[in-house]
């Protein structure tokens, strides 16, 4: 998978923002709107409100330092260019700060649109390895940031709280419940280690 390799490598950051390659015109008479419909169902219901004003990208702290362009991704999605959207590494540079959502004059809720596109990307196998590991931790320990070392317990003791807090770190049955949920939703399969293709 392209995406994984790119992110695993040392240059996960794309520094070249434009290219000299000649670009073909995007000639789409009737865009295939199945991707848009999928996004609407997955948590971005207002995507079609967008009139491309650019307020979102102009407000975006991720766009200010990476090749991530929220407006561009929304436009591509509206054009039905699904593969381009879900395979783009930069899709994962949005910090979900919601600044664009608070400023968008059309109530597109760009943050939610991006999250919906990420959902589609993950469902189709585009997931970064470190994200996969984080997800696996929740299934193993009940926590994305687990109490996984003796030294963290020592730290707790030092500040004067119980060595193990009353969360899933203490209650194994809580972790069992999370595993059952993940099995039911298929999330366990979604984030399990996959043989390199």
């Amino acid at each position: 998978m392209d995406l994984r390799l790119k992110i695993n490598g040392s240059s996960s950051r794309c520094v070249i923002l434009t290219s000299v390659d000649e670009k073909p015109a995007i000639e789409i008479d009737v865009p295939d709107d199945s991707f848009v419909q999928l996004i609407k169902k997955t948590g971005g219901p207002n995507i079609q409100n967008c009139f491309q004003c650019g307020t979102c990208s102009g407000s975006c702290p991720a766009g200010a330092r990476t090749n991530y362009l929220v407006r561009g991704i929304i436009r591509k999605a509206l054009l039905g260019l699904k593969q381009q959207c879900i395979s783009a590494t930069e899709l994962w540079y949005c910090t979900t700060c919601y600044t664009c959502t608070d400023r968008c004059p059309q109530d597109v809720k760009p943050t939610d649109v991006i999250k919906a596109i990420r959902n589609v990307a993950v469902a189709e196998g585009y997931m970064l390895v470190p994200h996969q590991k984080t997800a696996q931790k929740v299934l193993e320990a009940g926590h994305a940031v687990p109490l996984d070392k003796e030294s963290w317990q020592d730290l707790r003791e030092k500040v004067g709280v119980e060595r193990v807090p009353p969360n899933a770190s203490r209650y194994a049955e809580a972790i069992e419940e999370i595993k059952k949920i993940a099995k039911k939703t298929g999330f366990d399969k979604l984030v399990e280690d996959k043989a390199e293709k």
């Binding site: 992110i7 330092r65 994962w92 608070d102 997800a135 009353p166």
Partner: protein, 307 residues
């Protein structure tokens, strides 16, 4: 009036990396006569930008499972983490308004004999302190005012955004967090990039820590351009981690040294209420542990050896 009680949702970062925040919260809420109840068996919220980006239904189901623990006990939840707040508050809100999602989630929860009922509310510490305790009562408790200490703020994103949903503060000109912090007597220092994200959220820190740190660096540089500050106060442990331990990482990646003391708002208030830093372990912040350093006590106006 009966004593107000909240279920105390710890999440991951507070209990597992910044336990000083957990202890400080207990001191502050106790001083204000608000009970914090253990939330036995709560898990990861789960991280909204991470799990919400992977699979919305799984995210909502795990969040709903946490909510059912509080529903069973009949008390609202409070959390000191913007991320946990975003997950629990947003999931609670969405499940109360989106029947389709609620049906799916309850079908999943049936596997573990739970059901989301929608009977409780979720509060950030900031809102509980501001609305339930109230600024006046908080001011009365301040016995060690931070007079003359210059305080910059990092409110972070998710406790107030999206503003249309959260409906509590103007995210372009927020005042609630500032007013709460100002009860400590510290002097508020504005800087241009105060409202920019710390960079850690949305699974970015996990994907590419260097990009995440660039956000943080921008904030620091903006603060320095505004004349600097003696401390930065935040209502979120993930922001705290990014701003605190992030300084050590920035040094590694960008060879630039920053020395800011980063306090969670409940740590600020615990000190202002007269608690000694050792009572909740202020010096255990990862920045100090990794650098083998200490808070700049003098700048914070705290006499060492006084405790």
């Amino acid at each position: 009036m009966a004593k107000k009680s909240f279920y105390h949702f710890l999440g991951c970062i507070i209990p597992h990396r910044y336990p000083s925040v957990e202890k400080a919260a207990k001191l502050v809420f106790n001083d204000l006569g608000i009970s914090l109840l253990d939330m036995d068996g709560a898990t990861c919220c789960p991280a909204p930008g991470v799990f919400g980006s992977f699979d919305r239904v799984t995210w909502a189901t795990i969040a709903a499972r946490n909510l059912t623990i509080a529903e069973a006990g009949g008390h609202p939840i409070t959390t000191g983490c913007n991320g946990c707040f975003a997950s629990l508050w947003d999931a609670n809100h969405e499940l109360k308004h989106d029947d389709e999602l609620r049906d799916k989630v309850n079908e999943n929860l049936a596997e573990i004999d739970r059901e989301f009922k929608g009977t409780i509310e979720v509060w950030h510490y900031v809102d509980a302190l501001y609305q339930i305790a109230g600024l006046e009562k908080i001011r009365e408790k301040v016995t060690r005012p931070f007079t003359g200490v210059r305080m910059a703020l990092h409110p972070g994103c998710h406790w107030m955004r999206p503003k249309i949903l959260k409906q509590k503060d103007d995210s372009e000109r927020p005042h609630i967090f500032r007013e709460l912090c100002e009860t400590s007597g510290a002097e508020y220092v504005p800087y241009k990039d105060e409202l920019i994200c710390c960079g850690a959220g949305g699974a970015v820190r996990t994907a590419d820590v260097k990009i995440a740190l660039e956000f943080t660096k921008q904030k620091f540089d903006s603060l320095i351009a505004a004349g600097g500050a003696d401390m930065i106060v935040t209502p979120c442990p993930f922001c705290e981690l990014q701003l605190d331990a992030g300084q050590v990482e920035i040094q590694k990646y960008f060879e630039q040294e920053y020395k800011f003391d980063i306090l969670h708002v409940v740590e600020l208030l615990a000190l202002a209420f007269g608690h000694e830093p050792d009572e909740f372990g202020l010096a255990t912040h990862l920045q100090y542990m990794q650098r083998k350093s200490e808070p700049a006590w003098e700048n914070l106006g705290i006499k060492v050896g006084e405790h």
